[in-house]
Structures are given as C-alpha cells and as structure tokens.
Amino acid sequence: MSQDEIFQKVATTLVDALGVDEDEVTKDATLTGDLGAESIDFLDIVFRLEKNFDIKIPRGDLFPDEKLFSDARFVKNGKMTAEGLAELRQRLPFADIDAFAKNPSVKELSSLYTVETIVKYIEGKIR
C-alpha cells in the first residue's frame, strides 16, 4: 500500500469517526485542535483503523495512556521532562517529538497527533 493509499484510508476513517468533511482532513491537521476529537473519539479511531486496515492496535500503542502524563518522572510543572521526552520517543517512534520538544507542555500534546502521525503509525504497522 502506498503512502497515498494509506492517507486516503486514514482520511476516510477520520471522516467517519469525527464527522468532518474530507477537505478538512489534511496531512497536518491536528486531531484535537483542527478535527475536534475528544477522549472517546480516540477509542473509536483505533477501532475503525483496526477494521479498515485489518490490523491489531494494542491499547496505548497509538495513543498513550493518560497515566504517562501524570507521572512525576515524566512531567514537571505541566511540561514533559527530558526523561519524559525520551519515553515518548521510545513509545511513539512514529510521532514528531522534535517539534513537540520545542514547547513540551502537556497541554500541547494533542498537537502531536496530526493526520500524518496516524499515517506514519499505520505505515510502520503494515510494513
């Protein structure tokens, strides 16, 4: 499956899960900020990706458990620590942690998840 085909399928998944228009689903659209995802939607997105790509996504694999962000080793004063960023890099190799590291505020974490992030994750899964 080419990257473009993956993108198309991810886009369809997000259109169905988030009730957005196809043209809103651009590569750099963020799930929470631009596409309006809320906590329960992430469960739905995982479920639909599993079905549409015929893959298994273990819990916490694509979207990390919230616990990670309340762990004092990883978060101090609302910002991810160096240790936290390392943990993120290890857990989410498909995400652009470098960009996030410029302002590693937990509140900005949602910006980590763009449509492209999902595409990269899927690429890693099906290759």
Partner: protein, 424 residues
Amino acid sequence: MSKSDRRVVITGLGAVTPLGTGAELFWQNLIAGKSGVRTIQSFDPDGIACPIAAEVRDYDAVKFVKQRKTLKLMSRDIQLAMGGAFMAVQDAGIDLDSIDKLKFGVNYGAGLIATEIGEISAAVRATANSAKEVDLKAWGKEGFGHLFPLWMLKYLPNMPACHVSIAYDAQGPNNSITVGEASSTLAIGEAFRVIQRGTAQTFIAGGTDSRIHPLSMVRLALLDRLTKRISPPEAAIRPFDHRRDGTVPGEGTAALFLEEWQAARQRGAKIYGEILGFGSACNPASPSDSLASAIGTALRDAKIQPKDLGHISAVGISGVQEDRDEAIALAEVLGSDVNKVPITAYKSSIGSLSAASGAVELVASLLAMHHGQLPAILNFEKQSADMPKLRLVTSPEECPEKPFVSVSRSYSGQCAALVVGPVS
C-alpha cells in the same frame, strides 16, 4: 399551588411523529384523520403476529444535529429527540444567548433502548459455538474487538437529555424519567415544578422513544399487548371501541419549550398555553383508582372543575382491560359532567409512542386548542358495553379554548396527568 409558585408557559413545540416531522405537519395530518400505522418497513417483521407499526418515515437527523460526529453516539431514540428539541427551540424564537444557561434545564421521558442487533452480530458470530451459544471466555478474548467501543453510550436512557443539554448549553437541572408510557408526562410535570419553584427559568421537556425494533416488538408480542387485527393496518388500533384487542407500537418524539411566564411575556413570546396542574399516582392493585387519583390531583392543583374542561386527551391504548379501567376512572373524575366533556385519543392515529406518548399527545392537544378543532378517535364504531359511557370524539369537532387534561399511564400502573390551558 403554593403562594410563591411561578407560572409556567409553553412557547415552543417540536415533534417528530408517524404523521410527519414538524408540529404543524403532524397537526394537519392528525386533523385530516390520517393514520400513521402501516406495515413495518425498517426491518422484515415476518414472524411477529403484529407486523404493523407507526413508523417515522420522513426524518433525517443530519438536519438537526449541529455536531455531526455525535450522530455515531445516537440510537434512533436519541436522533429523534434531537429533531424535536431543535424544532421546539426554533419555534420558541428565542435568542438563547439572552437567557441564564444555569437556569436552563432539560427533562426527557425515555425508554429502555434496545441495542441494534447488527451492531453486536459480528461479536456474536465470532464467539458462538456450534450450538449457537456464546462462550463468554471467547467473548472476553475475541468479542471485544468486534464491538464499536462507544456502543454503550448509544443506549443509555439519559443520553437524549444529555445530548440536548450539550447542543443548547443547558446547564440547569437535567433529568431522564424512565416510567414506561407515563415517562414524558412525568418529565414535563417535573420540569413544570422545577420552574414553579424557581430552580430553573427555561426548560426543554419532552420524551422520545422507538420500540420499532425486532427485540422490542418481540417483548410486546410475548406480553400479548399487540393487536391481532392487522389488516388494514390503519384500522388496527381502536381506543374504547368494542372491537379493540390490543395496541400498535410507534415511534417519535416531542419537545416543549417551557418558560417562566413573566420572562416569556417580557420578550413578547407567542404562548401556546400555560401548564396549570400536575398529578401522578400509582396503585398497582387498582389502575382506575390510580388514574382517577392522578387526574383529580392535577385538577385540584390547577383549581379547575371538570365542568371547566374543554377536552381530555385520554391514554386510550386500545387494550381490552386498559381502556375499560380508564373509562371507569374518567367517569369517576367527571361525575355528572361525563356526558359533556369531549374525550379524544390520539393513539388511534399514531399508535403508542411509549415514553414519548405523553409529550406528543400534549403537543396534539395544544394545537387542537390553538386551531380550535379537536381530532377524532379513528376506527371508532361504538363504545364497548363493558365500560361507563363517555363523550368520545368520533368526528372532528370544535375545540373550545379552555383548559384540557392530558393523561398517561404505564403498563405497570404509573399514572400521570397534566392540566394545560390558555394563558389568562
């Protein structure tokens, strides 16, 4: 009525019914004597002795749900509710930004929502053994992966009121009454009380239900509540008639926009009517006592005598025993006025909308008062001899602009009545 009670008026109506979407279309079809009962279209009902129902056929939820993605969280019942609420708010013509959202409540009558079979069938197929029994170990291991993760949220009875509160930012009291066929009358009655006591100023109150689902229909059939007189479908349900033999299920919703009277007056709102009284009762051993007690309480609460009534909207569910119990109760309450007060029963046109019945029927009566015409009981030949004689509306007649009573009763015996009248 306690001295400090605020007055409560109805300033907006919204309805989605087997006779059409929108209160006005519903009214036109109702007064024209049309029936919403037909052969079931939404699934193949073969195998049920009563394959007829009053389905809503012209409704598109997408038009009424602003946040499109929430549609995936909505069963039929919830989707219907969104339309009714939307139209009630529109009809009220109110600028919602101008009201205190903390004093804006929602109260819905809702039912036990049956899960869509197609939604769990993949999990069942993946985990059933050769005897077609589901092995719970397999269900735990493999079933979950086949289930929509937000599945449960579609079926919780408090979700109609929840989604309505989110759509209109209604942060005041929010309740969901689950008392079968009496639910929405109780919900509207409670909303009335909450505004009376000043806890809220504005409410969206109503009910929603759809029992047109294979499991819900099986449940009704097993309890022998459905009519066997299925042909022609529109003649099946016949409240108080000597040939009645059971009910026909339907689906729908209605919402009332309620406001504290002064606030409505100040903004120059059009007022459909004022809620004057509310009563409820339940003596499972004596349905007629319970009904009479609920109606009597509502009349006393409204300080209205039976002779002052313009009409009564009866439960009239078309059950052999249920209609007889009701006739006894109505005769008792009306006393010497029994041959004067016209009684109608909208279920003859739209079936039993279960938890939505009371709200939809109240909308019908408000529009009857508003238009000055009272719809007839369809399919009525003659009243059965086993019950007291009532003054039943057998062809459309003039509807005086006077207070009326809207009555609801659940199969298990909970009764509720509202008295509503023109605002004075």
